[in-house]
Symmetry: C2
Subunit: 107 residues, 2 copies
Amino acid sequence: MTRHGFVVNVRPEKREEYLALHRAVWTRVEEAMSEQGIRNYTIFILDDTLFGYYEYAGDDYEADMAKIQLDATSQQWWELTGPCQTPFGTPAPGELWREMTPAWHLD
Amino acid sequence: MTRHGFVVNVRPEKREEYLALHRAVWTRVEEAMSEQGIRNYTIFILDDTLFGYYEYAGDDYEADMAKIQLDATSQQWWELTGPCQTPFGTPAPGELWREMTPAWHLD
């Protein structure tokens, strides 16, 4: 199992829209992640910053994440959530949620 | 079980010191947290921002966190780590690590 942390900002004027979407998240969007080994996924918010934490239970992370990217319903979902977000700090080209690096862990 | 997310900034000039401390964290500091129900604790870093995620397995969160605050070895540890950190965003008086709010969860 691997642990992953990500950060992104929410656009202040879209904050409530983003939260409302996640109070009524589409079943297929969750299913697509579960099918590819995503577990125990929580998104936290403070002010205009979102932090996501999840665990990955599969054995080919890159391939499984690529499969989620191809899911048609997830793509429709991101058409709604994407405009609510803006990168945190200085992103690489095309980067939205930026992956963080684990610095310490306690079981 | 409850899930908790926290965010703080690291002072750029103390970034390496903070990471080095966590590569050799004191056994008693980890023990004090484990004794009070802290589980699956990961600290992530990106640029100068730290994100902490943990789960709490006890049944009196406030009381158990207060017990950790009283641990003498943990207090010595924070004398080293505290000066490496500076609050993220606009903290309340005395606030260092700021607790985030869960916005969505997938088991």
